[in-house]
Symmetry: C2
Subunit: 248 residues, 2 copies
């Protein structure tokens, strides 16, 4: 089965599963891929809060436990649709934790897959914008591998970054609070920041937090591709599990 650690957040886990269904070539229920989605948000502390030192427990600990449960129940591939959870201090801890107990689970990284996708689609030197949580921004979770792959990276300034983070987390208007009823304020901030990155020269913008594609839903905005990292991950999982089932 394909194992998904959901709950970080719940909608992102649901969205990844939805996109796996969408990207699978199947004409009946039985032709779809087996997916096990473990969404226990109560167990996983906020990733950005950990990176900022506001919570002590490394989310890697419960995430590793859930990956192991997925494996014990039949998953041979695993992924977590949360970009911030891919900060090396979290994600490498997960990899180490799994290796330590002899896990055979193949982890698919949303960051690695997104950088690979960009490297296939765009020439070296292309200016790439990144919208993300402040955790991802501060730890340069996208910026470092993108630069290593030869891209020019554009991200919001500190003040604008704080607005992007609020569009995701604010208890009044943020996506994690509003759920599916996306607020005008969250839209205004995220499209506004996409505008800024495009004005600064971005040829493509990475929606580098799994909540952002719930707001910016177009594949193209102002003729620039908006890279839905959840869809990239969905396609990578299908390709790794059953390449003949991947839609063109």
């Amino acid at each position: 089965m394909i194992g998904i650690v959901g709950g970080a957040g719940p909608l992102a886990g649901n969205d990844l599963f939805y996109k796996i269904i969408e990207e699978t070539a199947a004409l009946s229920d039985q032709e779809h891929l087996p997916v096990l989605l473990w969404s226990d948000p109560t167990k996983i502390p906020d990733r950005t809060e950990f990176l900022e030192g506001k919570v002590k427990q490394n989310p890697a600990v419960p995430i590793t436990e859930i990956f192991l449960k997925l494996e014990r129940n039949g998953a041979r591939l695993g992924a977590i649709p949360c970009n911030t959870a891919h900060a090396p201090v979290i994600f490498e801890e997960i990899r180490t934790g799994l290796q330590k107990v002899g896990s055979q689970l193949q982890l698919i990284s949303i960051i690695e897959e997104t950088v690979r996708y960009l490297a296939q689609q765009y020439p070296s030197g292309t200016p790439v914008g990144v919208l993300s949580t402040t955790g991802t921004w501060k730890r340069r979770i996208y910026a470092d591998p993108l630069e290593a792959a030869g891209f020019e990276v554009l991200t919001p300034e500190a003040e604008e970054q704080s607005l992007v983070h609020q569009a995701i987390y604010h208890k009044g208007f943020g996506v994690k609070a509003s759920g599916t009823q996306i607020t005008g304020k969250a839209k205004e901030i995220l499209y506004g920041q996409a505008d800024t990155l495009i004005d600064q020269g971005a040829e493509v913008v990475i929606l580098g937090c799994t909540e952002i594609p719930l707001v910016i839903r177009e594949a193209f905005y102002r003729q620039k591709r908006m890279v839905d990292t959840v869809r990239v991950l969905a396609r990578a999982l299908i390709k790794a599990y059953a390449p003949d089932k991947l839609k063109h």
Copy 2:
């Protein structure tokens, strides 16, 4: 956790989880309910084909196994978002199979919850339309309990029923084949049959197959309520698991 047997079909399982998130009062990831979604469509034969004698294996067997796996992994409530799987010859077999091995899992039935919802909202004698698969239609999965609850039941004639079934199953234009890219033909058939039931006097229409709310998305059509049985089930699960988290 809330355990969901998905895969029958995959989109219906995804949709139930989506509606659980939508109907939960939560302002952060951590306030959402723990959900385990087991979507292994390869294991579950088509329910209508079983009811029509076209496949021999009772889907109850693999469904029961999955419910037990959900329970072993921490689920204390379970549901399967597939109306046809609630035919007594399948669903009672699941109940019996669970009891036989001493399962404590509390099964929530989409049919019982939908009939309960109608009985709370509409007076006895109200004409209720039902759109469903041919399996549900033939076995009177909704008609019998609705009549027992005092409602007048309206369903399509045999020829129209076959069209409704095709809107769900047809390999070219059916929802199970098109996935999220709903075809004009499926829309035309399902809205057309809703029209017929309303013209015949239906005051409310039950979307009695979990694929139908993926096409008819409005809460009201021609001023009649379209009862989304997946949303009814989502709310029943939240109410049973954590009543204080149910949105008003």
